[in-house]
Symmetry: C2
Subunit: 561 residues, 2 copies
């Protein structure tokens, strides 16, 4: 499907399928909902011509299908046409409910605009800047030389004879290859991940957490953090109706969570971060959300993203303690998404892992609270998204469940081995005295301090704009400012069936080439509007981007006042 077509169909296709216009088609859990059995009109109608599937027709089609009769029709040219088997009305209804704003219609339009520019079409901008996704290398961040040297050595071991490669890179490559079947990254690894990599991850966690022990058997390597998060949610979800598993997620959230919960048919329980207090977590708000949810589902897990995505806050130690106490008291499985653990910029802020705090709280908590924490090669100073590397550590998981987890991950054979190798390098980087150490530290520091500068710059510039209010970007890779959208614009958007901040971002894209994600894709308090913008572009470009955003906002405000 071309970007044009995708744009044409959106936003309806990207939010809810049209089948949900018809009663009985929308509920995944609805007993006998029979979405499978509804069949579209026999003649092939264009996708958006509507309401051919009236209940009567649908029912008669069902009977025909169930009797095994083919549904054929002779067209004028004598060729038999058949109704599609798989249509929007007969596909998995939970999949239709999935939304993923970070790669939604606005990005499809951005891709299309890029093509149009290439084809020579005239636009009010020379370049599309994609500040929609935390994709560091795409924004010009350079990979860590040492990591890429080891990956090249592992890919083509002939290079181990090349004297231009440093010895520490070679020894890391040899160690990884020795753990691979047949000395090749082309072999499957153990489904849980390469043993030696899991050992290195465990030692890294012990160092990070000041000696709190970590058992490599509790480490599962993953295909990026998303894979680990979905796998854990998959284990947790069960029950029907009022017994259905509920999972608490922050609002604003990273939309992987809502997407996964929709697909699994779990109940999403929203707790709101406090924008006035720099997007902090309030226990009273957790309690409110939980108490309300208990009326209609079975809340079993609490997800935290720290440092926050899209909100950029870094939780302090006391807050984490409170959250752990809350989870223990309320019997919630904790899921800590800690993929931005090295991305902390603000003075006085520090990353505390949930595991470390848990163990500091003593055996009453450390022996009982169930926790999964997630990390990735995609963020921090690495930004190696394309390799899809990550790990999860599970704490206090029931042994039988763990065996089930091991079985479950075995079905997908193994995480990509190059991603596992990269994860190994992240947790076992060059050490003082090794030939690559100085350069590694130099590169890492340069990247992280540039990010810190850009976090500050973004906050400062955005806060100079009337009608934009931006919390400090304490960590992670995004700003999530609140924006004032004039009532006239809200009305125009609503009349078009669009979220006002989608309307705003789409307009910005068309006029400036800047691709942001509307706050509605992450969730926000009703009546408030935001966008998420990455701080990743190189400083020069970021400055241009910010001044364009400023200019656009002023123009937009004027236009709709």
């Amino acid at each position: 499907m071309s970007a044009t077509r995708m744009q044409l169909l959106s936003p309806r296709l990207f939010s809810r399928g049209r089948s949900e216009l018809f009663a009985g088609c929308s509920g995944a859990q609805r007993p006998g909902a029979g979405a499978a059995t509804r069949v579209r009109s026999l003649t092939s109608s264009p996708p958006l011509s509507s309401s051919s599937s009236s209940p009567d027709r649908a029912l008669s089609s069902v009977s025909a299908t169930r009797r095994g009769l083919p549904q054929e029709k002779m067209s004028e040219n004598g060729v038999t046409s058949r109704a599609k088997i798989l249509t929007i009305d007969t596909m998995n209804p939970t999949v239709k409910k999935v939304e993923y704003a970070v790669r939604g219609p606005i990005v499809a339009r951005a891709v299309e605009l890029e093509r149009e520019l290439l084809e020579g079409m005239k636009k009010p901008f020379a370049e599309v800047i994609k500040a929609n996704i935390g994709d560091a290398h795409a924004m010009g961040q350079q990979p860590i030389t040492f990591f890429r040297q080891v990956l090249a050595l592992c890919s083509y071991p002939e290079l181990l004879n090349d004297s231009t490669f440093p010895e520490d890179a070679k020894s890391r490559a040899r160690r990884i290859l020795q753990s691979c079947g047949g000395y090749s990254m082309g072999s499957y690894s153990a489904s849980q991940g390469i043993d030696s990599v899991r050992q290195d991850v465990a030692r890294y966690i012990e160092r990070r957490d000041g000696g709190v022990p970590c058992d490599p058997d509790n480490i599962y390597l993953t295909t990026g953090a998303s894979d680990g998060i979905v796998t854990m949610l998959k284990l947790l979800v069960c029950g029907e109706g009022a017994d259905r598993t509920g999972v608490m997620i922050s609002i604003p959230q990273y939309p992987l969570y809502s997407a996964a919960l929709a697909e699994l048919g779990a109940v999403q329980i929203n707790y709101y971060l406090n924008e006035e207090k720099c997007w902090s977590m309030d226990i009273s708000e957790l309690q409110r959300a939980l108490d309300e949810a208990r009326q209609h589902c079975n809340p079993r897990a609490l997800c935290i993203i720290n440092p926050g995505n899209p909100t950029g806050q870094v939780q302090n130690r006391d807050c984490i303690e409170d959250v752990i106490r809350f989870a223990a008291k309320e019997r919630l499985f904790l899921m800590a998404d800690e993929v931005y653990q090295d991305n902390v910029y603000a003075d006085g802020c520090q990353f505390h892992s949930f595991k470390k705090v848990l163990f500091d709280m003593g055996p009453e908590y450390s022996n009982t609270v169930e926790l999964a924490s997630f990390h990735s090669t995609s963020k921090c100073y690495m930004g190696e998204c394309g390799f899809r590397g990550g790990y999860m550590e599970i704490i206090n998981m029931d042994d039988e469940v763990k065996a089930q987890l091991t079985k479950l991950v075995s079905v997908r054979l193994c995480p990509p081995v190059p991603g596992q190798a990269l994860m190994d390098l992240v947790v076992n980087p060059p050490q003082p005295g090794e030939p690559s150490y100085v350069n590694f530290i130099k590169e890492r520091t340069a990247t992280l301090s540039a990010l810190a500068d850009k976090a500050k710059l973004t906050e400062q510039v955005l806060n100079t704009v009337r009608g934009i209010s931006c919390n400090p970007v304490q960590g992670a890779m995004y700003s999530f400012p609140s924006i004032t959208i004039p009532e006239k614009a809200v009305k125009e958007a609503t009349d078009m069936g669009q979220q006002p901040d989608m309307f705003y971002c789409m307009k910005m894209l068309e006029e400036t080439g800047i691709c942001l994600v509307p706050g509605s894709g992450f969730g926000q308090k009703a009546g408030t509007y935001h966008f998420r913008m990455t701080i990743l572009p190189p400083t020069d470009k970021l400055k241009i981007l910010l001044s364009k955003v400023k200019e656009f906002h002023q123009k937009f405000t004027q236009q709709y006042s």
Copy 2:
């Protein structure tokens, strides 16, 4: 969990969770089954001490949980212990139903035996030979030099200045990098896959299928073929009760299918391959399976593995035509697993893609029959399993469904970029006249002809054993011989609660170090027994392996006669 522990818990954990011993816990679709709400005994009991969750206790625990009261108990040392939130009784029941024999308990035991050997324990063998999985490089197959050179260049582009790399490898690397954001494999790609790679895939398919057109928009790059297959099944599954989606799979099958269907809660419809006719497909058997299934579910898809896994047959053109006609008549979405398309060895056999045959049958079929076909970097002459590369092509998919598919894959961001790069090389290898061409052809031919020799050797040797009967290995990478298990052994296995062929394979592993997968893991006609053995070990090792299998079988037969 250590291998020992895993072994201890198996096979129960690897087949069905103990919760299914209790009424009401097993049904994923059961309305209000409430598996989520069953809570294990409050004191922490060892995992296998049973039946603490009597209905009464469970119910009272439920109420406590639903009221939000913490379930705590003071132990003797004053430390509060809590019942686990996530237990075998309260986890996702569909996950418990998943089985995956290829990496099941027998492989866990093989890994353990390897460790025991390393630790110096005495065994009746010096080495464990894992013939359980199609993992070519682990068995000593060498990667294609050109592929690895390009991957090294893409990983560490500094090497583009290295004069020892051939120009064609460099130009491929440049083309791939130019398609990556920021010229880095560390950037996310489009979720559907890198544009230029999808274009190359489309051209490859056109060449393979004698010019049948292929639209790159119909290509989705995947994280191995498994990922594509699961994604397609996910789109297809819906309905409840008698409307639940049924999916036809061959028996014997590759257990990814049964695992995915179990996890999705779909109905598995078994059609049996005809072992007497070299594991061929009979339309009458398809019809029988379908007619029976229509009594209790809604059959919507038909999966074919060609060349066959685990059975090694290669379908002829007529058979494929018949299958397509059947699918059209019966309104079944076709899924063609064609990952072994280059692995065809037997004289007179040839690979025919479902797509090519479909288009040869004329517009009545080519304009209507919905088809997804899957390919991978893991098999054929490449054997690059660890990179997790693959693609799927979709034919005649409804546009709205396609938009949903694109949305669904976007949630996982993108397939691993090194795997995409590798897929690109597979579909766009060195061409005549390019510097790497001669060596590429030499390496590819050597690998494929060695596989052909080993296919023949395996069949020949196994057929010399009384009580073993092996069909020709026409293609793929496995033999799946039928084995006669003496009644006494069947009884002993049954008394132990084990499948007779699991009993047989486990004994073989303990006595010879050879790791095979019992036929029961793939499915087989009741009363017949098989094992799957890869033909991948180097010829010398394969000869030893085959003679050990022969010896073991004779001894086993004697022992139980």
